[in-house]
Amino acid sequence: MQEKITSLEEAIAPIRDGDVVALQIMATYAAPMTLVRELIRQKKKDLGLVVLIGGIAVDWLANAGVINRLIGAAVTMEQFGLCQQYRKAVEQGRIRVEEISESVLNARLGAGARGLPFLTTRGAIGTDLMKENSDNMKMLDDPFGGMPVMACRALVPDFALIHAHRADRYGNIQYEPGARWPDLAIMPKAAKHVVVTAEEIVDSEVLRRHPERTILPGFKVDAVVEVPNGAHPTSFFPNYGYDTQFHREWTSVSRNDEKATEFIDRYIRSPASQSEYLELIGGEERLEYLKEWEGKR
């Protein structure tokens, strides 16, 4: 079998400026944050970012000038508030937003995943989203005489970036039972290339114990990197919760461009590795604390 294990540098290197990159993330939930930092470290630019509900990652990418367009349903850090760097970039015209609703994004990525030119929804009908996205959303009559539907054009990202609980060296990817948001289910299937970080690389025999937990077959995955705590500061259940303190540290500076850039220099550009990053954010003690998330059973 083809080996898929590589380094962070090599996993992200093939992404070219201008590419469309789909990112697993739901506000403060389960994002491949180490890959996001690597995008910044490698000074990618002019990327189009696809998110369902983008969080802190979008703010960082906006500050660092990595993205110039966003296709998604929302960008917010939920209880930590709006993404101010992103918001400012949009208001200043540095990021162009193609806002679509969740069912439209699901239909667009679903069509991309299935090799169909479009899929349909009855969501978002009557909204102004349709006017602003007429290239990708069109009303279509039912050939059987029923209600018209909205056709949503297939979206095929160049890359999807994913974080998972475990993988084997051939790129088979497993995810623990729990909430599975559509970004996880559909983005990697729609994308041409898939880059995965996993909390641990295990022997394939471990995966075979729970084949129903495997969410992507190795042949659909380009690169796998073992990155413990690779979703920090977002949550990654059941392993760890989101980092409240770290989110607050960001929001305390995120309205100020200079301070925001200092933050990114400190936490993203300076550490030479994931372990240096983890030391910076508080090391073993902090990581242990995050394992004891609220309501853990």
Binding site: E91, G126, T127, D128
Partner: protein, 269 residues
């Protein structure tokens, strides 16, 4: 749970958030399926209160994921695993959730909006600016609001900042379809149900059955019809028969909210 909520007396000791929660809670009943979005401490409190009082058999789907979950209390996020603790089912999102939602097996949605207009159209996208791509304020975005508004849901809005800026004559951008231009505009697009109630820090509004214009239903104790109208960016319909005061919470409801459902005070965040 064993509080005698049914015969509990009204209380004057409540916050505006608590009043809004009790008004919303009354909208959700046994035998219905309802859900909330993210950043939804008020709706989550309302669902939890309803289940602990008049509607133990309300089926609450937490944040589109956790069916009949039992969080010990409202956690610090409404889009994270602690909320859907002890669920009886995780709805796989891409097919399970969107199938059940589109086919209207889940039929009530409680949500907030940056702007609402006189026909219940909602805006969570952009405010002001020269055009859509250079807005004055970029809001978070529609998320699933655009979908749920068009998918025949009964919609319950809350707004803790009743003002001419949040309740406007016409939203800058329709991110969620209400009654559009009013009358039968919504129906003509084949969209069922729609906005039912708007509960703010000042008053409760519903919509006129024919014109679909927003109508004052009750004003909270301490507010007047005139104050509410002044704080609203368009002319509210005022029923000729007068506008009653909003029913205030009972002692039992307040105890449940403060001691059981939300001891950490997430409703005030």
């Amino acid at each position: 749970m064993s509080l005698n909520w049914e015969n509990s007396p009204a209380t004057a000791d409540y916050s505006i958030e608590e009043l809004v929660i009790t008004v919303l809670a009354e909208q959700f009943n046994n035998g219905e399926q309802a859900t909330n979005g993210m950043g939804s401490f008020i709706p989550v409190a309302a669902f939890m209160l309803a289940k602990k009082t008049h509607a133990p058999d309300l089926i609450w789907l937490a944040s589109s994921i956790g069916l009949e979950c039992r969080p010990e209390r409202i956690p610090a996020s409404t889009l994270e695993a602690p909320l859907w603790r002890d669920s009886i089912m995780y709805l796989e999102q891409y097919s399970d959730f969107w199938d059940l939602v589109q086919n209207n097996w889940i039929n009530k949605f409680c949500v907030g909006a940056g702007q609402l207009d006189q026909y219940g159209n909602a805006n969570n996208s952009v405010i002001g600016g020269s055009d859509y791509h250079r807005p004055k304020v970029r809001l978070p975005g529609t998320a699933g609001l655009a979908d749920l508004c068009s998918l025949n849901k009964k919609l319950y809005y809350w707004n803790l900042n009743h003002s001419p800026r949040s309740l406007v004559e016409k939203v800058d951008f329709i991110s969620g379809a209400g009654y559009l231009d009013g009358g039968d505009a919504r129906e003509r697009l084949g969209l069922g149900d729609g906005p039912q109630l708007v509960v703010t820090n000042l008053a409760v509004m519903d919509f006129h059955p024919d014109s679909k214009r927003m109508r004052l239903k009750s004003v909270h104790p301490g507010s007047t019809v005139e104050e509410v109208q002044q704080a609203t960016g368009f002319e509210l319909l005022i029923p000729e028969e007068g506008v009653p005061n909003t029913r205030v919470p009972t002692q039992a409801q307040i105890s449940l909210i403060r001691d059981v459902i939300d001891p950490d005070g997430m409703r005030n965040k």
